[in-house]
Amino acid sequence: MYNKKMEGQLPKTLFDKIWDAHVVQRKAGFPDLLYIDRHFIHEVTSPQAFDGLRKRGISVARPAQTTATADHNVPTQNQHLPIVDQLSRFQVDTLQKNCDEFGLELYALGHQKQGIVHVIGPELGLTQPGMTIVCGDSHTSTHGAFGTIAFGIGTSQVEQVLATQCLLQYKPKTMKIEINGKLSKGVVSKDIILYIISKISASGGTGYFVEYAGSAIRSLSMEARMTICNMSIEMGARGGMIAPDQVTFDYLQGREHAPKGEAWERALAYWKSLRSDADATYDKVITFEASDIEPMITYGTNPGMGIRISDQIPEVAVDSNLADMQKSLAYMGLQPQQSLLGQKIDYVFIGSCTNSRIEDLRQVADFVRGRKKADDVNVWIVPGSKQVEAQARAEGLDKVFAAAGFDLRQPGCSACLAMNEDKVPAGKYCVSTSNRNFEGRQGPGSRTFLASPLTAAAAAVTGRITDVRTLID
């Protein structure tokens, strides 16, 4: 039994096991010298790091452990043509030049496996249980769904990893969030994580690394688990993880970079040991019941400002103050005590590293098959990767979307952060499956309602915020 304690050894959490296995050096008064197994980079947060290497005259220490993709800046239409925006084109070209110069593998624009960094890592089998994974992007926490310690870093740290494959890190505290029971009809993993954040606030996880557990989490597919871990940063946590199990192993087996043959067997034996000991202690434990969760929607300007779709906007959000609540609602053009049901919307965005995988697209297609979008709503579906896009087309989902009037585009981060042309105009409302409802996040003046792909699809069809449960059997 992997759970059996060695004599004299303290029970450990999964987080502690992986962290401790990656400590190169521990010295009193210093942060741990932590080894990084896998490093992902993209065009926006890497150029200054490569400049740093050039200034120091050093190379990339372990080129095989860094993988690059262009995602944040790329257009989602006409990707075969040169990028129109000069600055975006220069940044994407700079990534190509840097990867060529330093010998790094790049999934460039046009590559048949290009896509959002947190979608392609798992898809290619680069993300594996027990690893430490970093990227200059806060949603690196996505990879935690495989039982990894994965977290976002700044550009100075990107340079450190390129130069040494290590980082200096203080060990965060641990938090367990348990969700027990069975999810109700119309409630999906996005609703779980929006519910958790609405309960503990946008800063409730700061200083912690979260492990998600409980029967509701165990019942989820890998893609659904990724959605949950993805948004760990939205409660301030460094990252979030889920212990690997048969669902994880089945997802990984046969993927391009997953171990093969005898190596697979060795890996599997190790991966099966990756779980928290039964009597391990956490710095904090929070428990929720799955049956309390409904389809969720945010109303404010941080992801902690969310409600169950049948609830009313509160006077003050958890751990917020009245002035900030008023500022937020004024930006959104909403009132306290108001229900969001029936609220007219202008845009629907289905995409981002949170919800752009094939299961998300299938869920949306199943719902809209035989339905049409509301006339005055623009609907963008942006797949997370070229492979997701190809799979959607192979399954005929593109035809379902076309018939419904949904605009299926090419992969990228798109309207999640609106670095490309995909911007929601000022004052307009967008129901979005992305992860942030900050002021101006989807374009200057844009107003975002975060929701699940199902809730977004329902809004697309009715043109209003709608309880999807009223439209499904």
Binding site: A21, V24, Q25, G29, F30, P31, L33, Y35, V44, T45, P47, Q48, D51, G52, I58, H72, N73, L87, F90, Q91, T94, G136, D137, S138, G152, I153, G154, S156, Q157, Q160, A163, T164, C166, L167, L168, P172, A202, S203, T206, I233, G236, R238, P259, A263, W264, R266, Y270, N302, G304, S320, N321, K327, A418, M419, R436, F438, E439, G440, R441, P444
Partner: protein
């Protein structure tokens, strides 16, 4: 670059959960160098249109100036973009005081020799009130003694910083120098590392 002490006036921004998208909106992240981000610091709060400054925003008011930003709790949440720290530094801020900082921002700030000082919510509110009452209020930041002093308020507050980062700031060291000096240990670790 180094940081030891600073005597400065303060710029108050009593808003909570200021995310890095507000500090520097994503559309300004297209530069490939570290310079020039200060121009777009708090861009969408600072400007009403492309060219019209918002006179209600604190950075556009002559009343307030200084190298210390005092901001509401959970400052720097959201995106990991180090551009937020670059923008603050480029604009001229060397210290940010708040009652709570987001983790990644804190680390990015320290890596750019900006000192994040965490104080209690009570002290933070006291500072906001004092700055509002007297915009010329001067504070003294003393890193060697880890102390924040406001003579006018007869206030002396100790603040936390880990020893390693304190040494880095005082001496102008950065993590990469430290890491590059550990090549031997890293290689020894790699020899025992489990790979498949």
């Amino acid at each position: 670059m180094q940081f030891r002490t600073l005597i400065s006036r303060c710029v108050p921004l009593p808003i909570e959960n200021i995310d890095t998208d507000q500090i520097i909106p994503a559309r300004f992240l297209k530069a490939t160098t570290r310079e020039g981000f200060g121009e777009n610091l708090f861009r969408d709060w600072r400007y009403l249109t492309e060219t019209t400054p918002n006179s209600d925003f604190v950075l556009n008011q002559d009343t307030y100036t200084g190298q210390v930003l005092v901001a509401g709790k959970n400052f720097g949440c959201g995106s990991s973009r180090e551009h937020a720290a670059w923008a603050l530094a480029d604009y001229g801020f060397r210290v940010v005081i708040s009652s709570f900082f987001a983790d990644i921002f804190k680390s990015n700030a320290l890596n750019n020799f900006i000192l994040p000082i965490q104080v209690s919510e009570t002290i933070l509110q006291q500072l906001f009130q004092a700055i509002q009452a007297d915009p010329t209020l001067t504070i003294e930041v003393d890193l060697p003694n880890q102390e924040l002093r406001v003579a006018d308020l007869q206030l002396q507050v100790a603040f936390e910083i880990n020893l390693y980062k304190k040494e880095c700031l005082l001496n102008g060291y950065d993590d990469i120098d430290y890491l590059l000096a550990r090549q031997g240990e890293i290689e020894a670790y790699e020899a025992t590392r489990m790979t498949f």
